[in-house]
Symmetry: C2
Subunit: 252 residues, 2 copies
């Protein structure tokens, strides 16, 4: 049996959701509500000691890290392949999934955290907030929550993150001017990894992704959104997008 | 034909060097002298626009990123396999290679940069230094060079990097108390990725890796160093280790 512990079909949770739907695999969905800090609950930390989604459970074994999960799913369920059929193509795919993990996603995430977390914690008393923070397993995540709660990331860091989002889009545009998909002529895990990060850019940072400067990116986004697998994953959302940005949830 | 563009058998350059030697593959070695800024030369940037080593050239195609290179080598030359033979084992391997890339290596690298770069640039005039910086393709790398040249990384950042090195060692020790190698019972790319980062820790940070606290790590290091493939890669060093730390090289 396949079970996925995930949040909304955004960011890293979207990656295995899209992969599972593209492959038409049955799975049990466990929604972990990050707005209610469920990823830090003792029950979830038993599954993933880092207290992070997504996590896959398959035959009783837990696999973490969205990029690793997708490689795993593609190895175990190869009927609908999501990797190029040459080693060179797979290398190009992995350069992209790595770039998303190390550059594009952290940059976008920092900006998202700076905008969203203040509202998430707004209705917590200082004591409730401290109690939530205390059970976060990773110390660096505790520090990030504290900064985000006060919207206190240094402006220089935010500017650099924004610049890197712009660079990421430029890199996409360059690649998509040469090949149909990010890893070549084959739709792959590279596209799946990039989509959740890129999909909000035309709205959030139109100066980076727009008809004039990045027509290939917009065309790619449209092709991604037309895919039944992507649509099925996005349809799993429990919160409309604007609620995602401004949700004020009470403490548990 | 296989060609590898690499620096010393340390850090990310060591990863494909060990992989190639473990597999007994013939390759042309191109030494890129980072102490002379050769990675930013126009010739090298033509190969890797990011101006970073290592880079593999195979059948005329360039593959970058040490982790991606090693997965590629293992796919194209599977005779001496360096991946576990189950999908779960490969997932565990990839969680380690990703952890090294995103956590252990950047933390150790920051400390190394803070200690080493000052000496590397000591004999450059301000104008020569600016000329070297100007041709670094990645803006974030330019910023890192400027900070490192003045040993100006904030103490808080250095302390956090050091803490993460300690956490990395603890994670290794936990895993090695359960399995012989990092990804299970099979020696794999996970061990190869971790070795160049871990090998200096007993000397540089003995409080983290020592006989009392981390016997499994020390045993693993000894097993790694006993491997002919690892020995062959380390034997490719052109600089004795102490020169690596204090080299004062003139401008080109």
């Amino acid at each position: 049996m396949l079970e996925l512990f995930h949040y909304e079909p955004t960011a890293n949770s979207a990656k295995p959701l899209i992969c599972l739907k593209e492959k038409g695999l049955e799975f049990v969905s466990h929604y972990v509500d990050l707005h209610n800090f469920e990823q830090h609950s003792p029950e979830f930390v038993k599954l993933n000691p880092n207290g992070q989604v997504p996590a896959l459970k398959h035959n009783g074994e837990i696999i973490t890290e969205s990029t690793v999960i997708n490689e795993y799913l593609d190895e175990v369920f190869p009927e609908v392949p999501l990797k190029p059929d040459t080693a060179l193509g797979r290398a190009r795919m992995r350069i992209w999934t790595k770039f998303v993990d190390e550059y594009f996603c952290p940059s976008l995430s920092l900006i998202g955290w700076n905008n969203m977390i203040k509202d998430v914690v707004a209705e917590l008393s200082p004591e409730e907030f401290e109690a939530k923070i205390a059970r976060i397993p990773l110390k660096e995540q505790q520090a990030k929550w504290r900064l985000a709660a006060k919207q206190a990331f240094p402006q220089e860091q935010l500017d650099e993150a924004r610049r890197k989002c712009g660079e990421s889009v430029k890199r996409m545009e360059r690649t998509l001017s040469e090949t149909e998909w990010l890893a070549g002529s084959t739709y792959s895990l590279a596209d799946i990894a990039c989509f959740p990060m890129a999909s909000g850019i035309p709205r959030l940072m139109p100066e980076f992704m727009n008809e004039r400067d990045t027509p290939r990116c917009l065309d790619w986004l449209a092709r991604m959104r037309a895919r039944p697998g992507v649509q099925a994953a996005l349809a799993m959302s429990r919160r409309p997008p604007n609620v995602l940005k401004t949700a004020k949830t009470a403490a548990q």
